[in-house]
């Protein structure tokens, strides 16, 4: 991070790392106001920590979303309906 930008963050004229990381979820969802999003982009370009941190945050979400298969038990619906017929007063 260059000296001028560091001074700007210390003076509160540009967001610091703490502020930027608190924006991450909204940035990923694209819900940040345009001006804040531009400040975020400027910070990412300047900061040696926040750039990789943001990439890793996004990779983590991608890995979560790739997901792991959940195998459904055979006859899940049939067993549930049998249970309901035996325990609830369903009308045919």
């Amino acid at each position: 991070m260059n000296v001028v930008y560091t001074i700007k963050t210390l003076l509160g004229l540009a967001p610091n790392c703490k502020k930027v990381t608190s924006f991450l979820a909204d940035y990923v969802e694209g819900t940040l106001p345009r001006k804040v999003s531009q400040q975020f982009d400027e910070h990412l370009g300047m900061c040696k920590c926040c750039g990789p941190y943001f990439d890793q945050y996004r990779t983590t979400i991608d890995l979560i979303k790739e997901g792991r298969e959940v195998k459904l038990p055979a006859e899940l619906v049939e067993h549930t309906m049998t249970f309901l017929r035996n325990n609830a007063n369903l009308s045919r």
Binding site: T9, L10, N16, C17, K18, K19, T21, S22, L24, A25, D26, K48, C49, C50, P52, Y53, D55, Q56, Y57, T59, T60, I61, L63, I64, K65, E66, G67, R68, E69, V70, L72, P73, L76, V77, H79, T80, M81, F83, L84, R85, N87, A88, N89, L90, S91, R92
Partner: protein, 208 residues
């Protein structure tokens, strides 16, 4: 097939015929069970990690829905109300079973980044894309990490990032604010990033 692809095939939950359900119509319940039990099972199983207990919870969820249907106030989608019943039962079962091996609050807090004067205290080392790609058990590593999250954070990751319910739906299912959902989801992702960090960083070459 990814979860996203699957939900696109399954399509959004259709709102059931409430009048028929209120009358206790068996066909209407059968349609509801057929439509919702796969999605509900995946959520419950991801919370519990136990197939037999998840099946019991699914049965109990539909029974409670049948018994309490007159209390449904139509303030949310019916399926949101149904899922809330299932999630509550699953969380109760998890607490009773003592299967929880989650991080303590203080250990979870330690996974959040530290700052000094608003700047990162430690440098952030890049991840190695090749190492991530070659790590064939990366999903196992990730899901072990998800299982270690405190239960309320884990449930939000399952509902928002895996099952892709909206923030508003999750807030209604868990009876918390949308803001609380957003904050907890962010903190959970940050903690997961930290737990994945040692597995995915560039490896140092050992000195000859």
């Amino acid at each position: 097939m990814t979860e996203t692809a699957r939900s696109k095939i399954e399509g959004p939950s259709l709102e059931p015929d409430l009048d028929a359900l209120l009358a206790g119509d068996e066909k209407a319940f059968e349609r509801l069970v057929t439509q919702e039990s796969p999605r509900l099972f995946r959520i419950v199983f991801r919370i519990l990690g136990d197939e037999e207990e998840s099946q019991n919870i699914i049965q109990e969820t539909f029974l409670q829905a049948f018994q309490r249907i007159k209390t449904f106030r139509r303030e949310s989608k019916f399926t949101t109300w149904l899922y809330a019943i299932g999630i509550n039962l699953a969380r109760g079962s998890l607490r009773k079973s003592k299967r929880m091996t989650s991080l303590s609050d203080s250990d979870f807090d330690r996974l959040q980044p530290s700052f000094s004067k608003g700047m990162f205290v430690e440098t952030v080392a890049s991840w190695d894309p090749l190492r991530i790609a070659e790590q064939t058990n990366r999903h196992e590593i990730l899901h072990r990490a998800i299982d270690r999250l405190p239960e309320d954070y884990k449930t939000i990751v399952i509902l928002r990032d895996i099952e892709e319910h909206s923030t508003e739906e999750v807030a209604k299912m868990l009876e918390i604010s949308g803001g609380a959902v957003r904050v907890r989801l962010h903190r959970a992702r940050v903690a997961l990033r930290e737990m994945l960090n040692p597995h995915f960083q560039y490896q140092r070459q050992s000195a000859e």
